[in-house]
Amino acid sequence: MALKTVTAINIYSDICKGCGICVDACKFGVFEMSTERGKQGYLLPKVVRLENCTKCELCELSCPDIAIEVIGG
């Protein structure tokens, strides 16, 4: 059960370069790599378990392209 209510995690597909750091940074398995490609041509991560998010914001802070934003909480 998540302590904080995060309403959405936005992944901006036009600037994401698919490095996979967010998948590694999240300790609760919120992200997974998908097979979908963004505007840059890289594979995008996707949010699969939003209910696990504790709003530690490590994904947002670690993202090298400022492409993740955690909304709410």
């Binding site: 600037i15 670690s62 993202c63």
Partner: protein, 280 residues
């Protein structure tokens, strides 16, 4: 686009110029948060050198100066002295600060002038093709050291401390929260604040020094090899080889160069005026 990016960054800089997985983007974001939370966007001006690290200066929607290779600090000193209310942020790389601008770095630290120097240490000359830098670890093979580097890596935090900087700190991109806290302190510190950030370079140092171009693997390597002082003290001297010490090493208030210069100018003008009055 991210709300913060819309607020304080240039929209035409997105998507960012960095390679996929490069830590420079993380540092940009953290410096952006620090500027936004401190509410100093109108006073900030940035100086960038040559190298991938120089790009950071141009991303923020503030006045910026792109200096020639290694000469970020003389420019920053001039910007600070001409308007002391400015918060000057200097983005410099390890080749820029430690090798080519080493002399300027020593003298800026010696002056203890109110600047924030963010030194981005990717352990190699990233932009120019992976040449060996003073901060490259011992034994690394690069295009200019094909049989391994002979000398150990230069510890620039110790250099800064010895030269007279009054805020010295080293963090990595694998510690974003600690780095953000330190950046906020460093920007508000009256005196030269030197913050070294060890970052991953998947394209050059990943390929040549660590043997992997995967940013996740490189971040794991950074996390495992960067230790705090307490963790470091538990290890034997043999085990310490190749490990990087992280933490806030020094923070003290000492007389600052800009304030001293303006005070000195006022004193000289007053004494001149007095002597002219006496002459009459």
């Amino acid at each position: 686009m991210h709300t913060l990016a819309k607020k304080i960054m240039r929209e035409d800089q997105f998507p960012m110029v960095f390679c996929p997985g490069c830590g420079d983007g993380t540092i940009t974001h953290l410096v952006g948060i620090a500027i936004d939370e401190l509410g100093i966007i109108d006073d900030v001006c940035t100086v960038g050198g040559v190298g991938c690290s120089g790009w950071l200066a141009s991303i923020f929607n503030v006045d910026f100066f792109k200096a020639i290779h290694g000469r970020t600090l003389p420019v920053a000193i001039a910007l600070k002295l001409t308007r002391p209310s400015r918060k000057v942020l200097v983005f410099t790389g390890d080749g820029d600060c430690a090798a080519i601008g080493g002399n300027h770095f020593l003298h800026a630290c010696h002056k203890n002038i109110d600047l924030t120097v963010v030194m981005i240490n990717n352990q190699i000359y990233g932009m120019t093709g992976g040449q060996v830098a003073p901060t490259t670890p011992l034994g690394s093979t690069t295009p200019t050291s094909p049989y391994g580097k002979i000398e150990p890596a230069l510890d620039l935090c110790k250099v800064a401390e010895a030269a007279g900087a009054s805020f010295v700190s080293r963090w990595t991109t694998a510690h974003p929260k600690q780095l953000l806290r330190t950046l906020k302190k460093a920007i508000m510190h009256p005196g030269l604040a030197y913050v070294e950030v060890i970052t991953q370079c998947p394209v050059q140092s990943g390929r040549y020094v660590h043997g992997s171009g995967d940013p996740v693997h490189l971040l794991k390597w950074i996390r495992e090899n960067s230790l705090t002082k307490t963790q470091m003290e538990k290890l034997s001297p043999e085990e310490r080889a190749g490990k990087m010490l992280i933490g806030d090493f020094l923070e003290e208030i000492r007389p600052e160069f800009t304030a001293k210069t303006y005070q000195f100018m006022a004193e000289v003008q007053a004494s001149k005026k007095a002597s002219v009055d006496l002459g009459r």
